[in-house]
Subunit: 202 residues, 2 copies
Amino acid sequence: MNVRSPNATRERIHDAGLTLFNERGYTGTTVRELADAVDLTPGAIYNHYPSKEALLFAIVDRVHDEADSVLSETLRGVGNDPVAQLQALAAAFTAFHIARPRETRVANRDYIYLPPGERESVVRRRRRVRALFADVLRDGERRGHFSFGELGSADAVQAASMAILNMVVLVAEWFDPAGPRSADDTAALHGRLALRIARGGR
Amino acid sequence: MNVRSPNATRERIHDAGLTLFNERGYTGTTVRELADAVDLTPGAIYNHYPSKEALLFAIVDRVHDEADSVLSETLRGVGNDPVAQLQALAAAFTAFHIARPRETRVANRDYIYLPPGERESVVRRRRRVRALFADVLRDGERRGHFSFGELGSADAVQAASMAILNMVVLVAEWFDPAGPRSADDTAALHGRLALRIARGGR
DNA sequence: CCGGAGTATGAACGCTTGTTCATTTACGCG
DNA sequence: CGCGTAAATGAACAAGCGTTCATACTCCGG
């Protein structure tokens, strides 16, 4: 009956899960809705995923893999100048979040529904991303490119890196693909805004 | 049986809903869990709220009321200098989010589960908050205190105001009340970071 | 042309969901 | 003291949940 390439159905389920989890949330989505979306019977889903939870983990895990490679490839493509690094990271990660709004929203919002073990592994990955940005800021401060001391608060690096990260991670919440500004423009803009946050001014 | 003041039970349910919705999400929380949390029977909940959904709306609506008054009172307490306005708004709103992590997280994450009419009203309120920050930025730019033109992107005000707002709204995601930095410190820090974002640097 | 592997079906499973309701309990007030 | 009202009970409801399974279909290699 099925002439598709292997795993094509698995992929279609993955994609439908992305759409539905994004719109209704994980607990707000039904296996039957999922089956309807791919024109399948609820039982057939279980030929491809052992459980609804496994689908969520597949979704969350994959987008974290992709995020990790975006960040590490960006870092590889730029020198070791913290200014260039920060700008490139913020821009690339912004572009990533614009390109994958469903994936990133589900990952950021619904990972809490994973069982403890898998949730912990996700928390660890996301901590590593935070640490990456914080390290770049600290490195840049030490080398005189960024300044946080004048902010008058101990360890302003944490707050500043979270400000940058949150700006980037939530871009899809307001960015309109049909709007006047292109994704590339917005990515570049976020790169410069990240520098404003880190470098300080006036 | 109940010697409490009127509406005390209603308030306890409100609070338990806050805790549970925050931890497990709205759809992930059960009326029975809710009842357990306030030492009541599921049926008794319905003496105080007509539905689970009504409880969610009460929660979301109240925190929006509070947010609105925090913002308008902050604005009233400061002059009409855009720099002072932005700094005060960012600081006050940060303090608000640190003080009410459950409320703001539920409001920001679970309002999508409200029925269309109520969801629309929430969306409208939240758009008004975005507009408030954007207006302050535009006003400040016009009067020469902020600059976005050098960012090289049309209407950078939108991106900048969203960067500020997301920094503020997500502070509870990383701020640790048991950590070394106080809430007031963090609020003030965010006030200054908002100026960095708006004013630009170097 | 046959057989086996992979996939889909559709009915069913036990359980949980939000909600209802007749009944009982408790309390404040006259 | 006793009445009326508000609140809590506990059992029940229908509907929906994630998941299972015996069965049937379809395709491809030998």
